[in-house]
Subunit: 222 residues, 2 copies
Amino acid sequence: MRSAYHEQLDALSSQLGEMCGMAGVAMERATQSLLQADLALAEQVITDHELIAESSARAEESAFILLALQAPVAGDLRSVVSSIQIVADVDRMGALALHVAKIARRRHPQHALPEEVNGYFAEMGRVAVELGHGAQEVLITRDPEKAARIREEDDAMDDLHRHLFTVLMDREWKHGVAAAVDITLLGRYYERFADHAVEVARRVIFQVTGELPTADGELNAR
Amino acid sequence: MRSAYHEQLDALSSQLGEMCGMAGVAMERATQSLLQADLALAEQVITDHELIAESSARAEESAFILLALQAPVAGDLRSVVSSIQIVADVDRMGALALHVAKIARRRHPQHALPEEVNGYFAEMGRVAVELGHGAQEVLITRDPEKAARIREEDDAMDDLHRHLFTVLMDREWKHGVAAAVDITLLGRYYERFADHAVEVARRVIFQVTGELPTADGELNAR
């Protein structure tokens, strides 16, 4: 039989997983609003952000109640502490999707992006959704192999981000500084979104193994 | 007589305070390295970042031990949970100073900044140090008035950031896209540094009052 503690921790993990899924969907929609200059979709991401923020507050409260009522020790205590840290990462993923939507809204009815870089953002949006779902899966299955896959998606995001910069830095760039500033910020938002998904996966692996993988994936006792 | 719990929580708060001070100094040096194209100083920030990362791991461990050994309840439990969240913010402040130093290093022996925007960054660097010290003071004194002062410094940072963007967007901008990209990222790093200092102050006020101030400074029960 499972203890009340483990049931509550599982419930908390699915709650966090759902938030990752929501953040992924938000980033997907924000990307669409950016690519299509779709104001309604941008507004929807902005409104829906409230739901992620509320989930975040609820998850934090669940973790707190778990600590208060179950007073877990040792590995169980580490798991709850990790959950509290994971909330902050997922919350931030939602905020980054919000930032993307806000740039789409600010530039409407214009497109924020010159057509030349649309492909990069379409792809970064796709990777972001994968990362959201991947982090959700890792939270639920606690499978280290799935966590490794998130790292691969993150590498893909870093590559896209790097290529995007070479396009910007090209002497042939003819879309002016304002577009370059938007693209720089947008690129940073996607990159950070991926970093936070990786961080979620690292924390889950820490919950499972008691060791925190380093940024490059090796396990290190802390 | 003070309990062992309160002594340990105070020790943890000063540890977090010291980290804020270190992050402020790191941002001050990173700013100098940027303004003077001073490679040695940039390298020092990059090396010293290890110290902030280690402090971070130690503070997280102290909070964990406090939870494990003292099993605090109610308000005391909330305080330790807040401390765990504060570690993540201060850790991030250090990482942002590191990013600034890395841009200075990447552009060396060139200056990353055109002279025209030096004044903005000198001022943003000054505000960042104030924020580091301010957050340290708030952590030690738990004084809500000092927390309010951090919010004012953050407003000053936002103003600087906004003005910096109008300079970039000016049709007269003649320093090219590469400089604009660097400045966009740098501006973002300073802005985020300030946001995290505000977040630290909010968490401390939450420790004291049990209410989490909203982003605009009002108290809201959660």
